[in-house]
C-alpha cells in the first residue's frame, strides 16, 4: 500500500509498504532516515522514539498505515524544530494538533543536512552524554519534548520523561547532566 505523511515538515510518500510494517521501518528503509534506531521492536527501549502529531511515541509500535496524513518529527528534524520554536513558530509544517493545514517550508530540511544542531543535541555533546550513540536519537527526541512542555524540570521529571529510553553504556548520569544543561541554557536564553 501507499502511505502519505509529513516527515520533518516535508510531504513524503512511501510505496509498496507492507500492511504490517512499522512506521520505524518506513522511516529507515524507505525514506532513508536512519536516525531513529531499531532495537527491541517491542517498545521497551525507546531508541525509535519520534514525535507523531507532536507526541513522543515508539515508531516501532505504530503501523505505517496509521501515520497516513500525520506529522512525524524524527531526530533528523530536531534542529529545525528547535529553530522554529525559538522563532516563535511551532513544529516544521504545522503546530501539533493542527494536522491537515500543512504549510511546507523550504527551511525544513530533510535530514539535518545543514549541520546545525538543536540545543539538546549540543548539550548532549558538551556534557559527554554520548558513548556508543545508539540510544541517543530516542533520548534526544524524548528530552526535547519534555523541555518544550516543562522548561524547568526537576531531576524526577527528567527521570520520568526518559524512563522509556534505555542506555546500556553511560549509566545515565551524563545524560541527566546533558538535560540539566539544556534546561539551564534554555532558561538563560543562550
Amino acid at each position: 500500500m501507499r502511505v502519505n505523511f509529513t516527515v520533518n515538515g516535508r510531504p513524503q510518500q512511501a510505496d509498496d509498504v507492507w500492511e504490517g510494517e512499522s512506521l520505524l521501518y518506513v522511516l529507515r528503509e524507505r525514506l532513508g532516515l536512519p536516525g531513529s534506531k531499531n532495537a527491541c521492536e517491542q517498545g521497551e527501549c525507546g531508541s525509535c522514539t519520534v514525535r507523531l502529531d507532536g507526541v513522543p511515541v515508539c515508531s516501532c509500535l505504530v503501523a505505517a498505515g496509521q501515520a497516513e496524513g500525520r506529522e512525524v518529527v524524527t531526530v533528523e528534524g530536531l534542529a529545525d524544530l528547535a529553530r522554529q520554536r525559538s522563532d516563535g513558530l511551532s513544529a516544521c509544517g504545522t503546530p501539533p494538533g493542527e494536522a491537515g493545514h500543512a504549510q511546507t517550508r523550504d527551511t525544513c530540511s530533510q535530514s539535518g543536512e545543514s549541520g546545525e544542531l538543536a540545543p539538546i543535541q549540543r548539550a548532549f555533546i558538551d556534557a559527554g552524554a554520548v558513548q556508543c550513540g545508539f540510544c541517543t536519537p530516542g533520548l534526544l527526541v524524548a528530552a526535547d519534548d519534555m523541555l518544550e512542555r516543562n522548561p524547568n524540570p526537576t531531576d524526577a521529571d527528567i527521570r520520568e520523561a526518559l524512563s522509556g529510553n534505555l542506555c546500556r553504556c553511560t549509566g545515565y548520569e551524563k545524560i541527566m547532566d546533558a538535560v540539566r544543561l539544556a534546561a539551564a541554557r534554555q532558561s538563560e536564553g543562550v
Partner: protein
C-alpha cells in the same frame, strides 16, 4: 494482509461484521509487538485511529464514559479525581511513549492477566460497552475476563467505551515489579472503598488466569467493618481484621511460577499489597470523615 481504515465507528462495525478475524489496532502497543515478532499475521488489520469518538471521555453523574482509545497519559492528567485508582494504574504503565498511545480498550481487548488497568476497573466497578452491527451491549467487568487473554467479546464486536463508576471514596493501586518504569506486573492489586454503599471492592492482577476480585475477602471485610461500626466511628481497622483480609486476598489467587516470579511469591505479595492498600485508603477515609465532622 489488508489494512482497513474505517473513517467512522459505523464503518468500523461494518468492517468487523464483514471480516470477523480483523484485528483492531489503536495504540498498537500490543498488536505491533506480535506482528514485529512474527507471532501474529492477521488477514486484516483495522486501524481505529481515525475514529475521534474513541479518544473522548464524558464525566457523568455517577460514572465516566471513557472512550476505548483514550491514552493513559490523558487519564493520568484529566481523570485523577473521578478515577483515582485507574489514574494510579495508568501511571504505572510502561513509559511515557507507551502511555501516549495505549489505552484501556486495548488492555481489555488483549485481556492479559497482567494488564495494569484491570485491577482498578474491578475495584471501581465498570461496564464494557461492546458493539456490533447487531447492536450495543454492556458487559459487567466481572464477567468480561473469560480466560488467559480471552474476553467476552463476540467475533464481530468492538469495544467502544468503558463506563467506570466515579470514585465515592479513596482508591489505591499497587504493583510489584523490578523497577518503576517498563514493568510487566509480577502481580498487582487495586482497592476501592465505597462509603456510599459501605462496601469495599478489590482487583487482583497477574495472580490468576484472569484478573479477579477477591470475593471472600471483600465479604469478610464488609461484614467486619459493619459489625465494628467502622464506617461511622472512623476508627483504625484492627490488625487482626487487616491480616484476615490480606490472607483471604492471598487465598483468592491462583498464580503460576514464571520468569517474573513464583506462585508463592505472588500469593505473599498480593497479601502484603492488600494490607497496605487497605491501610492507605482507610487512613484517607478517616481523614476525610474527621475533616467533615469538624466542619459539621
Amino acid at each position: 494482509m489488508d489494512f482497513l481504515r474505517p473513517a467512522s465507528w459505523e464503518e468500523a462495525l461494518a468492517a468487523k461484521a464483514e471480516h470477523p478475524t480483523a484485528v483492531p489496532i489503536a495504540g498498537g502497543t500490543d498488536v505491533m509487538v506480535e506482528i514485529n515478532f512474527d507471532q501474529r499475521r492477521p488477514d486484516y488489520l483495522m486501524d481505529l485511529g481515525r475514529i475521534g469518538d474513541l479518544y473522548e471521555w464524558e464525566v457523568g453523574e455517577d460514572s465516566v464514559r471513557l472512550g476505548a482509545s483514550v491514552p493513559y497519559t490523558r487519564i493520568m492528567e484529566n481523570l485523577r479525581t473521578e478515577l483515582p485508582g485507574l489514574a494510579l494504574a495508568s501511571h504505572t504503565v510502561a513509559s511515557p511513549q507507551i502511555r501516549n498511545r495505549g489505552g484501556v480498550g486495548g488492555n481489555l481487548g488483549t485481556a492479559s492477566p497482567a494488564g495494569d488497568a484491570h485491577p482498578a476497573l474491578l475495584a471501581a466497578g465498570a461496564e464494557v460497552e461492546a458493539e456490533s452491527v447487531r447492536g450495543s451491549r454492556r458487559i459487567l467487568i466481572d464477567a468480561f475476563y473469560t480466560g488467559v487473554k480471552r474476553n467476552a467479546l463476540a467475533p464481530d464486536e468492538l469495544i467502544r467505551a468503558v463506563h467506570i463508576k466515579k470514585a465515592d471514596g479513596p482508591q489505591q493501586f499497587s504493583k510489584v515489579g523490578t523497577r518503576n518504569a517498563m514493568v510487566i506486573a509480577v502481580c498487582a492489586f487495586g482497592l476501592a472503598l465505597h462509603p456510599g454503599t459501605r462496601t469495599v471492592r478489590t482487583g487482583i492482577g497477574s495472580a490468576a488466569p484472569t484478573p479477579i476480585r477477591a470475593a471472600a475477602a471483600e465479604e469478610f471485610l464488609n461484614a467486619a467493618l459493619d459489625e465494628g461500626g467502622f464506617w461511622d466511628n472512623g476508627k483504625i481497622i484492627t490488625p487482626s481484621i487487616a491480616r484476615q483480609f490480606a490472607d483471604l486476598c492471598s487465598a483468592a489467587c491462583n498464580p503460576i511460577d514464571d520468569v517474573r516470579g513464583t506462585a508463592s511469591y505472588r500469593r505473599h505479595a498480593v497479601g502484603v499489597m492488600a494490607r497496605r492498600t487497605l491501610t492507605w485508603t482507610w487512613e484517607s477515609y478517616r481523614g476525610t470523615a474527621h475533616a467533615s465532622e469538624g466542619v459539621a
